[in-house]
Amino acid sequence: MLKDLAFLVVGTVLVNNFVFARFLGQCPFLGVSSKLETSIGMGMATTFVLTMTAVAAYFIQYYILEPFGLSAFLQIVSFILVIASLVQLVEMIVLKISPTMYNAFGIYLPLITTNCIVLAVALLIPQKGYNFIESIVFGLSAGLGFTLALILMAGIREDLEFADVPEALRGPAIVFLTAGLLAMIFLGFTGLVPL
C-alpha cells in the first residue's frame, strides 16, 4: 500500500511530470517563472488548488455523477465549476496573506482556473480508478511536480539574465529552448517506477 503510494508520488512528480512529460500548464509555467520567489508562491497556490480539486473530484465522481449516471456528459462541467470556485477561494486567501504576492501573480492567479493540469488531475482520477487516499496523493504530487518545474525554470531564468545570449534568441526564444532541454532531461526518468 505504502509502496504503491510512493510509486505514485515518484511517478507523478518525476516520470510523468505534468509540465515536462504531459506538456500541460505551459502558460503559467512560462509566465510566472521569471523570479524564484513568485514561482514558489505560484507553485504553492497551484498545489493547494490541485489537492483540493482531487478531493472534490473524487467526491463528485463517486457520490454525485456515478450514482445518477451523469458522468458521461457532466464530468467536465462539474469539475470546472469546482475548480473555478477553488481558485476564487485561493485568490481571497492570497490577497489576505500577502498582497505583494497577489500583485506579483497578476493575471496568472485567476488563470489557475484554466491551467489544464487542474482539469487533467480531476479527469484522470476516475479514469485511473484511484481511491480516496490515492486521489489526494495524486493531486498533491501533481502540484509538487508543477512546483518543481517552476522552481527549476525560475532558477535557470534568473541566471539567464546575466548570460550572454545571442541576440536572435533573447527573450521567449531562449526560454522555450530551455524548457525543451528540461523536458528531454526528464525523459531520463522513464522506467524509474513500474506503472
Partner: protein, 344 residues
C-alpha cells in the same frame, strides 16, 4: 430521459449552491479591509496614470496619500482643484502652496536669427540624431536644436515649434509630466513652479565672450543681475545666471538690467501695490519696501509710486491691516480690494 434531466439540474444546481455558499463564507472570513479613503482619493484624482507624481499610476498615489507618504497636493496634473478635493477626503485643511504646479519652460532663446550656425545639418530630422553630430548644428553646444523632439513627445499637445525654430510651450495646457525634459538631448527644457515668471533662458556655461560670439541672447555672466536683485535670488554659477525660484519674487529688476536679454519675463504680468483706505499710516510698508516706492506721513494714508514699484509684494505681506493689494492692471483693482464688508 426526463429523469436524467431533472437529476442533472438538481445535482449541478446543488453543487453550485454549495460552492457559492462556501465562497460567501470564505469572503467574510478572508475579507481584506481596504481603507475606503483610498477609493475616494482615487476617484478625485484625474486618472490619467501619467506618473508625473513619481508613483506608479493614480492608484499608487492614492495609497501613498492615504498612508501619509505623499502630500495631498502631490498630483501635479490636477493642480489646486484636485488638491482641495483630496484634502477634504483626508480631512486636511491646509492644501499646501497652490503654486506648487510646475510647468515646462524652454531655457534657450537662440532661434534661427539669434544663434550662429557652425554647419548645415542635412541628416535625420531629429534633435537626438543631430545632437550626436558634433553637438548639433548651432555654434553654441547648449542651444536648442529645434527639430521638435519635444513637440512629438508631448502627450497633451502643449508644445508647438514657433517661427524662430524654438519650441513654444502653452503653460495652460502643460501638465508638468516632464516627458519633454527627458526627451530633449540638450536639456534646454526644465520644470519650474508656475508662479515664477522670471527665467534665465540660457544654459551656456562657456566664458562670456564665447557665448557672445555664438549667440546674441546668451548669458554672458556679467553679474549685473546679481547686483540688482533685491532678494539675493539670482547668482552667476559656472558662467551662467541661475535663479533661486524659492527666493525670486518676480520683481523683474534683473530682466530690466540684463544687457543681452537672456533673462525674460512677461512685463504685462508685473504687479503693482495699491493701498486702500484702511491704511492707518503705520509706515511698516515704507520701511520694508526694497525700492522705496512707498511714501507717506505717520498716521496718514500712504501712497505707492507706481513708477518705482516692482511688484515684489513684500509690503502686502507686512501690512498689519491687509490694506495693500497686489494688482496686475487697472481692471483688477475692483475685484481684489473690495473692502465693503470690513467697513460695516
Amino acid at each position: 430521459m426526463a429523469n436524467t434531466i431533472i437529476t442533472s439540474i438538481l445535482s449541478m444546481g446543488g453543487l453550485g449552491l454549495a460552492m457559492g455558499a462556501g465562497l460567501v463564507l470564505a469572503s467574510k472570513k478572508f475579507a481584506v479591509e481596504t481603507d475606503p479613503r483610498v477609493d475616494s482619493v482615487l476617484e478625485a484624482l484625474p486618472g490619467a496614470n501619467c506618473g508625473a507624481c513619481g508613483y506608479p499610476g493614480c492608484g499608487g498615489l492614492a495609497r501613498a496619500i492615504v498612508d501619509g507618504k505623499a502630500p495631498v497636493n502631490a498630483c501635479l496634473v490636477g493642480g489646486e482643484a484636485v488638491a482641495k478635493k483630496v484634502a477634504k477626503i483626508m480631512g486636511v485643511s491646509d492644501v499646501g502652496a497652490a503654486g506648487d504646479r510646475k510647468v515646462a519652460r524652454v531655457l534657450c532663446q537662440g532661434g534661427k536669427e539669434e544663434a550662429k550656425f557652425k554647419a548645415e545639418y542635412t541628416g535625420v530630422k531629429s534633435c537626438r540624431a543631430a545632437s550626436m553630430v558634433n553637438s548639433g548644428p548651432k555654434a553654441c553646444p547648449f542651444a536648442c536644436i529645434g527639430f521638435g523632439d519635444c513637440e512629438k513627445v508631448c502627450p497633451v499637445g502643449a508644445i508647438t515649434m514657433g517661427e524662430k525654430g524654438l519650441p513654444v510651450i502653452d503653460e495652460e495646457k502643460c501638465t508638468g509630466c516632464g516627458l519633454c525634459v527627458k526627451e530633449c538631448p540638450k536639456m534646454v527644457i526644465s520644470l519650474s513652479p508656475e508662479k515664477n515668471e522670471v527665467h534665465v533662458r540660457c544654459r551656456a556655461t562657456m566664458k562670456g565672450k564665447d557665448t557672445r560670439d555664438a549667440c546674441k541672447v546668451g548669458c554672458i555672466a556679467c553679474k549685473q543681475c546679481e547686483k540688482v536683485c533685491p532678494f539675493d535670488a539670482i547668482h552667476v554659477v559656472n558662467n551662467v545666471a541661475v535663479i533661486d525660484y524659492e527666493k525670486c519674487r518676480n520683481c523683474m529688476k534683473c530682466v530690466e538690467k540684463c544687457p543681452t536679454k537672456a533673462i525674460t519675463s512677461a512685463f504685462a504680468k508685473r504687479k503693482k501695490a495699491v493701498i486702500n483706505d484702511t491704511c492707518i499710516g503705520c509706515t511698516i510698508c515704507a520701511k520694508n519696501c526694497p525700492v522705496n516706492a512707498i511714501s507717506g506721513e505717520v498716521k496718514k494714508k500712504h501712497e505707492v509710486n507706481a513708477e518705482l514699484c516692482i511688484g515684489c509684494s513684500i509690503c502686502a505681506e507686512k501690512c498689519p491691516k491687509g490694506a495693500i493689494a497686489m494688482v496686475r492692471s487697472e481692471g483688477d483693482i475692483k475685484t481684489s480690494s473690495c473692502n465693503a464688508c470690513a467697513e460695516v
